[in-house]
């Protein structure tokens, strides 16, 4: 019943990054601007800035994820932080240690930031609520709840291609029900003023109240849903959802909701296609689309490092830096 904002400090600056829900348009824009400035670092010969020198960042992954963990690790290293990688799913919790015990033990090693991925919704909020005052928590995905840095890197990618959010039509296709990525995307797109956000899936993969909860429009037909879309975001679908009460088969799913050039024909000619990866080729989309001219999937990966650098740097106290300052630091 506490009403204080769980992720901002008393001055309204980012302390933790748990969810995009409740963050202002100005703050989201600042993160994207910082990320844009930091993109240059990766292209330099010496790929480092000293923004987080002397800080210790621990990647605390209770769920396996090579890709997300790697980009967080690279981002932290480019900020000159020391990085610890802990794959908890195979160590502590298997021995019965609680989440809080794990947090306390690592805090005792003077870690400044935890990047947390956990299978349970609310895990990052829980850790932020119990972390020592000097510790920041960055949510790298909790259950079905949120994956803020993924949504931010998607927004950065969209902005690079379609700078005016107020004119956009965005379609999100796939397993919305179980997707933390989709939830964070829908919230951020709404905050940034995108007027038409659509979700496309069979009813079994849409939360019952998705339209009211996120201000989006639900479609059950792919061609109709992507009609005149500027951006088409495909979600990863877990194979274990197939042959269950949720979906009958990969075959039928691809027939109805798999993205092909043909189905993409109703979208705008300059529409971009996105996917958080890794792609199930032939389930969510065919290779022609994944590798085609509209695909910006690899740009998403590159942007992911810059966005994570921006978020980590801001949570560790570097908010309010101008892009000029960042560039100076980058060239120092």
């Amino acid at each position: 019943m506490t009403c204080s904002h769980p992720q901002l400090d008393a001055q309204g600056r980012l302390k933790h990054c748990l969810t995009l829900d409740g963050l202002s348009r100005e703050l989201l824009t600042e993160i994207l601007d910082q990320a844009e400035s930091l993109l240059g670092v990766s292209r330099q010969a010496v790929k480092k800035v000293p923004l987080c020198r002397g800080k210790v960042i621990a990647n605390l992954f209770f769920e396996n994820s090579t890709r997300t963990r790697t980009t967080f690790e690279l981002a932290a290293k480019r900020l000159s932080a020391d990085v610890l990688n802990l794959n908890i799913s195979t160590s502590a919790t298997a021995k019965g240690e609680t989440l809080l015990d794990t947090l306390r033990n690592l805090e005792a090693m003077h870690v400044d930031m935890f990047v947390v991925r956990h299978a349970t919704s609310g895990a990052a909020h829980f850790m932020a609520a119990h972390a020592a005052p000097h510790v920041s928590i960055v949510n790298a995905g909790d259950g079905r709840h949120a994956h803020p840095t993924q949504a931010l890197l998607d927004l950065l990618t969209i902005r690079q291609h379609k700078p005016d959010f107020s004119q956009l039509r965005v379609a999100i296709v796939g397993d919305i029900l179980h997707s933390r990525v989709a939830r964070s995307q829908m919230i951020a797109l709404q905050t940034l003023g995108v007027p038409d956000v659509r979700v496309i899936a069979p009813r079994t993969l849409l939360p019952t109240h998705v339209e009211a909860a996120f201000g989006v429009t639900a479609y059950h037909d792919l061609s109709e849903g992507v009609r005149d879309a500027d951006v088409v975001i495909m979600l990863r679908i877990q194979r274990e959802r197939m042959n269950s009460a949720l979906l009958p088969s990969e075959h039928e799913y691809f027939q109805l909701f798999g993205l092909t050039e043909e189905r993409l024909a109703t979208a705008k000619p300059d529409a971009i296609v996105m996917h958080p990866g890794p792609i199930n080729r032939g389930v969510e989309m065919d290779s022609q689309v994944a590798d085609g001219r509209r695909s910006v999937i690899l740009e998403q990966v590159t942007n992911g490092i810059a966005v994570r650098m921006a978020v980590m740097s801001m949570c560790l106290g570097n908010q309010g830096l101008t892009s000029q300052h960042l560039e100076d630091t980058a060239h120092a």
Binding site: L99, H118, R183, A213
Partner: protein, 429 residues
């Protein structure tokens, strides 16, 4: 209880829903019973006189569901610790569900609970016997023996019987002995894995949902079985508008079915989950404002005849984790009265109606005419409270061993001054 003192409670506003009395008067008690209301009998010399000026004097509250965690879960609470909390809350009778360890599925466990609670003498604990052995949902218990051992009713706690045939047989067998059956209306499959109302807030937070249909499907099944078997069923803790609507419709047709609601369902909603407060993790889940309004209306209309604490004390560790991984339930005894008074402040019930749903309402569901009333000769179970006292919920004044309340730090209105059990003062502030 033999040594109950002679007491006079003077100048209080006596409200007794059973007789309809609401007047400033005196109450005289002797030998654990009500001796007289108004003038004391000639020659009556009280051992002690309580000045209840400005206070409400009413029958002690009857709570249809409060877990005391003993035997077996003493790390969470004990009959002694929760007895103290009950006494401080004006509750003189409480029903404890059978999900103790061991389960209350045999007379020995029921008698043990009776013995321990008598020994402490803080609150009358009525055990609810299990419908099935070990709450396994497969084989029915020795219900006749459980009744003899003092079980007031039967229950599956929060583990509803999945097999409809077993449910039917259990209801038939219970009806053989005239035992009421408390049912938590929750379809086990539709609620499996869920921890929040399947609505806008739960969807936004990505919390696995429990849909309204988890309740309505169970209500429909059990109403049909009650009608078929003639068993008397009581829905323990309804949470949806549609659920109470179905109950009202069945009651109108003469089905022997009653219902109660937990107080937190009437003051909290799904919106209280927004910061993942594990103390708001309850089953059934906190639902929508519309559900809350319908539950309040059903209470006012008499479809729901009891208010319940649904007290579930937990150890701190049970609530220390990400929301879905925490144990459901809140510690509700100490907020029972102030939350019930909020219904009066909000115009849902008048004071008489509120007290009725905390006294003879639940007593009638238990078919216990000897509880929840203050007439000459009846048990001297009395609650004296100050409806205007404002207090702040704080850890150092909290009595229950379970500190899992979402109201910690909140200012509440209404506080118990004295509680008497069988004429003895078991709590005084």
């Amino acid at each position: 209880m033999l040594n109950a003192p002679r007491l006079s409670i003077r100048h209080g506003r006596l409200i007794d829903p059973a007789s309809g009395q609401d007047a400033v008067t005196d109450l005289h008690l002797a030998d654990g019973r009500v001796l007289a209301i108004g003038d004391a009998p000639a020659g009556f010399q009280p051992d002690r006189t309580l000045d209840a000026h400005g206070l409400i004097v009413c029958p002690g509250f009857v709570d249809l569901c409060a877990r005391v965690r003993e035997p077996g879960l003493e790390q969470k609470a004990t009959i002694a610790s929760e007895g103290r909390a009950a006494a401080a809350s004006g509750v003189t009778t409480l029903c404890c569900p059978p999900d103790t360890r061991p389960v209350i599925d045999n007379p020995a466990v029921a008698r043990l609970i009776h013995q321990i609670s008598k020994q402490h003498g803080l609150v009358r604990v009525l055990p609810l016997g299990a419908m099935t052995q070990g709450l396994d949902g497969k084989s029915i218990t020795e219900m006749a023996a459980l009744k003899l051992a003092g079980c007031a009713a039967l229950s599956q706690a929060d583990r509803p019987v999945r097999d409809t045939q077993v449910q039917r047989r259990a209801l038939e067998y219970a009806a053989t002995f005239g035992l009421p059956v408390f049912l938590v209306p929750l379809d086990p499959e539709l609620s499996a894995g869920g921890c929040a109302h399947e609505g806008i807030v739960g969807t936004r937070l990505g919390l696995p949902g429990i849909p309204e249909a988890a309740e309505t499907v169970a209500v429909a099944r059990d109403l049909a079985l009650a009608e078929q078997t003639g068993a008397r069923i009581h829905f323990r803790g309804l949470s949806t508008a549609r659920g109470v609507e179905m109950l009202a419709e069945a009651q109108a047709r003469g089905v022997q079915a009653s219902g109660d609601v937990a107080l937190h369902q009437l003051v909290l909603s799904e919106h209280d989950l927004e910061h993942f407060d594990a103390n708001c993790h309850v089953i059934p889940p906190l639902r929508t404002y519309a559900d809350q309004a319908a539950l309040r209306a059903a209470l006012a209309e008499g479809v729901l005849t009891a208010l319940c604490s649904d007290h579930q004390p937990h150890d701190a560790d049970a609530k220390l984790g990400p929301f879905p991984e925490t144990a459901p339930g809140l510690s509700g005894l100490e907020t029972l009265l102030p939350l019930a008074l909020r219904l009066v402040a909000d115009g849902v019930l008048d004071l008489m109606g509120m007290i009725e749903r905390l006294t003879i309402g639940p007593a009638a569901i238990l078919e216990r005419a000897d509880l929840g009333r203050l007439a000459p000769g009846s048990k001297a179970d009395v609650c004296v409270f100050d409806p205007e006292a404002v207090w702040t919920v704080a850890p150092d004044t909290w009595i229950s061993q379970g500190r899992n309340t979402p109201f910690m730090g909140c200012e509440l209105r209404g506080r118990v001054s004295w509680t008497l059990l069988g004429g003895r003062i078991v709590f005084e502030r």
